[in-house]
Amino acid sequence: MPPTEATPKILIVDDQRSNVRLLEQTLLRGGYAGVMSTTEPCGVTALHLQHHFDLILLDLQMPEMNGFQVMEQLRPVRVELPVKILVLSADASQMPAVFEAGADSFMGKPFRLPDVVERVQLMLKGARAVVAPAAEPRPLLERPSPRVQA
């Protein structure tokens, strides 16, 4: 569901270009036009002060400055300039720490693109902390073995 009136401002923070590109395209197709991105976590606070984002999609494992440090730096700024933070990480065991550090939501990598769009929608609508659907039973997809297909 594309936003209509005020276009939400979204920032993607990931040191890997491919991930940034993937999220950019995903959000664009999801109807979000106001998407910015950076591969340099050090500049996130400055960017937020400048652009007043509604949502930041944040990677955890980054050289120089990791996602936790970014959130730490943002913490005082968020009092005046609130911004939702969605952390995307391959390490689900970090989830509790991520929330502790001030994130509003968490998604595991790899993700399904529709799930990302849906999560962003939910968060922008004002839903407070949202967590990935229970990782209960793994999807039992019917799919042929790649080894046979190769």
């Binding site: 995903t26 790899p110 902390a129 229970a134 019917e142 073995s145 790649p146």
Partner: protein, 698 residues
């Protein structure tokens, strides 16, 4: 002639002389009496069956041969009297040897023969010697013989008396003792694995064996008589340790020590030493037995083993850490692969049919790879011992229904028919609900995937009569497995020739299942028939289903009466186990002051808490998805739910679990099974707390 006859064939001369002497002294009554008495004594001696008494004339010819002699030698008196000399019934070689020895000793030639036996006695010397008598039947026996010369009143020798005893028994005992001593000595001497050393009471070496020589390097000649402190390092000697060791051994009978000792060549060895004090029957210290073992090699081996163990443990830990971090590392590039493939799939303009097919292949491979990574991570988590189990009663009927509904779509796509147990028997097992579900889903999906088209999967429950455990069996109508494959089935990465049939599967699933079942104190196994199918089974401890104690509802109802009817308050219970949910539902049903909301996982629980803002939350710890502790953190993090008291209700009843729980911020930590009074008390406290904070806020 009978053996009992006294003085048979008395020597005529002696007899007549005794008579003469008796007549001469007849006037003296006392002497006569003494003589009579002496005669009686003589008779007794001569009639003794245990002494051979042989009297000869001065030439050695036997004149008297008593019962004892007859018994020992086998001759009757008639055989020998007046016929032979004692030399004739003695070992001739010994007689010759004795003659030679006496000739040498006395410096006069002595003829082998009776003279050799009687010569000393004839010179008035006391003579007792050992010799070998030869019996009539030719057998021999050792005897101790005392020879006395018989003299007349003029001191002229009129004969000899040879009193002999059979020395066989003593000889035999001596021989035995000698043999025992010999073999004992040989044994001690030949032991080469440890040093067995005798010390005298002062600590000087009195005996030395092969082991001592081997371990310490000294030969017996070099060390006998030297003080045992020679074996101690200088410092120990200076500190008086050797003497202390002996004193302790003397005081307590046994003293053990372990430490460095020194060899002849000056090298050190690590020794275990046991001192045992040796005392005679009177309790006097006779010395010490010292047993020394060289433990240097053992110590080396122990050190090597310890190092190896540490290395292995470290390797195992780093393996787990490696697998865990690798899993995370692999996800990032996989995210790009799967992400861009998904983008391409939904591109506009849409991909051509051929492109779409290729993209599906990329996606399939990618999701499969993700599953593989997840399972490796699972296995690494289990093997690192980090997986916690929350064991509680789990009702199989509900569990199997859940599994069935989860797996049904896959079965439908494959055209495989699934059947649940026919009986409604309420099987209840002691298990971690989430984990046993994971195991059953794995078995069921295997049974479907490796089945024949239009095959069947049957789920059964039964009680194993031997173990009393509950067995869940999943039977398929697949190809079946040969025994050699069955044996490898629970090993990682053994897809057993299934590679060719186009089925997915990492082969880790069964390994994970096995580990999980074992963590639940259960057993997993399989029976398979080629061409017929396989039956995988899991056996778990049976347990009684959760039931309310009879008085529980009364207690619950009594609590509600105090509350004002208008103050209807909300309790949220987050719990995945329906049995527990039902139990709490029943408890709360009787309290008209409470309404109960339930959520079956942490996420749903947190969502529900945010929308409904309950007064009190009951939280299971071991939940699918996020754990109860994580859910608590989420609630605390959110200002709207931060104030709600959350009571933990968990099967994790270890002190550590409880401490961690309370540290995490739970209002109270209750353990399953639920104890109704404690449960109600905690609930009331939490409600009171909620009311206070509510009042304070407004």
């Amino acid at each position: 002639m009978t053996p009992s006859a006294p003085l048979r064939a008395p020597p005529a001369r002696r007899s007549s002389r005794t008579a003469t002497r008796a007549e001469k002294s007849a006037v003296e009554l006392g002497r006569r009496k003494a003589l009579l008495k002496t005669g009686a004594l003589q008779n007794a001696i001569l009639n003794s069956a245990n002494f051979s008494s042989i009297a000869t004339d001065d030439q050695g010819v036997i004149q008297l041969f008593n019962v004892g002699a007859e018994r020992m030698l086998g001759y009757s008196a008639a055989d020998v009297v007046d016929r032979i000399t004692p030399a004739d019934i003695s070992d001739p070689q010994e007689v010759v040897a004795r003659a030679a020895a006496l000739s040498l000793e006395l410096g006069t030639p002595i003829t082998p023969g009776f003279e050799a036996l009687a010569f000393k006695a004839s010179r008035g010397l006391e003579d007792i010697y050992e010799l070998t008598y030869i019996r009539k039947d030719g057998t021999r026996f050792p005897a101790i013989v005392s020879v006395t010369a018989l003299r007349d009143d003029a001191q002229a020798i009129i004969g000899y008396l040879l009193l002999g005893t059979d020395n066989s028994a003593r000889k035999h005992a001596e021989e035995n003792l000698r043999r025992t001593e010999d073999s004992f000595r040989l044994m001690v001497e030949s032991v080469s694995d440890c040093a067995i050393v005798m010390l005298d009471p002062d600590g000087r070496v009195a005996s030395w064996n092969t082991g001592a020589q081997r371990i310490k390097g000294f030969t017996a000649d070099e060390i006998l008589g030297r003080h045992f402190s020679t074996f101690y390092p200088e410092d120990d000697v200076a500190a008086g340790k050797p003497q202390r060791d002996l004193e302790q051994a003397a005081a307590s009978g046994r003293h053990e020590d372990e430490g460095w000792r020194i060899r002849k060549d000056g090298t050190l060895f690590w020794a275990n030493i046991v001192f045992t004090s040796i005392r005679d029957h009177g309790g006097n210290l006779r010395g010490f037995a010292k047993l020394t073992r060289d433990l240097t090699e053992r110590n080396k081996v122990e050190a090597i083993l310890l190092t190896a163990k540490a290395v292995a443990e470290k390797a195992n830990l780093s393996k787990s850490e490696f697998l865990s971090s690798m899993s995370h590392e692999l996800r990032s590039p996989l995210n790009a692969i799967l992400g861009f493939a998904q983008l391409m799939e939904s591109d506009s303009p849409a991909p051509s049919p051929a492109q779409a097919e290729n993209i599906i292949q990329i996606l399939n491979a990618g999701w499969y790879l993700l599953e593989l990574i997840n399972e490796i991570l699972d296995l690494a988590t289990i093997e690192s011992g980090k997986l916690s189990m929350s064991l509680e009663p789990v009702s199989l009927r509900e569990l199997l229904l859940e599994c069935h509904s989860m797996i049904e779509p896959l079965a439908l796509r494959r055209g495989v028919h699934m059947s649940l147990p026919h009986s409604d028997a309420p099987y209840c097992v002691h298990a971690d609900r989430t984990r046993i579900k994971q195991v059953l889903i794995n078995l069921l999906s295997n049974a479907i995937k490796y089945n024949t088209p239009r095959g069947a999967v049957e789920i059964e429950c039964s009680t194993n009569r031997d173990s009393g455990r509950v067995r869940i069996t999943v039977t398929d109508t697949g190809a079946g497995l040969p025994p050699e494959q069955v044996a490898q089935l629970f090993q990682p990465f053994n897809r057993l020739g299934q590679e060719g049939n186009g089925e997915e599967g990492t082969g880790i699933g069964l390994v994970v299942s096995k580990r999980l079942v074992e963590l639940m104190d259960g057993v997993i196994g399989v029976e398979s028939t080629i061409g017929k199918g396989s039956s995988f089974w899991v056996e778990l401890r049976s347990t009684a289903p959760l039931t309310l104690p009879a008085a529980a509802e009364t207690i619950a109802a009594a609590d509600s009466s105090a509350a004002a009817p208008d103050a209807l308050r909300t309790l949220l219970y987050v719990e995945d186990n329906p049995a527990n949910l039902r139990l709490v539902e029943k408890l709360i049903a009787r309290r008209d002051d409470l309404r109960l909301l339930t959520a079956v996982n942490g996420n749903r629980g947190v969502e529900l808490a945010r929308t409904c803002l309950p007064d009190v939350i009951l939280m299971d710890i071991n939940l699918p998805g996020i754990s109860g502790i994580e859910a608590l953190k989420l609630l605390r993090h959110d200002p709207s739910t931060a104030h709600i008291p959350v009571v933990a209700l968990s099967a994790n009843a270890m002190a550590d679990d409880i401490e961690n729980g309370l540290e995490a911020g739970f209002f109270r930590y209750l353990t399953k099974p639920i104890k109704v009074p404690a449960f109600m008390k905690a609930l009331n406290l939490a409600l009171a707390f909620a009311e206070e904070t509510h009042d304070a806020a407004h």
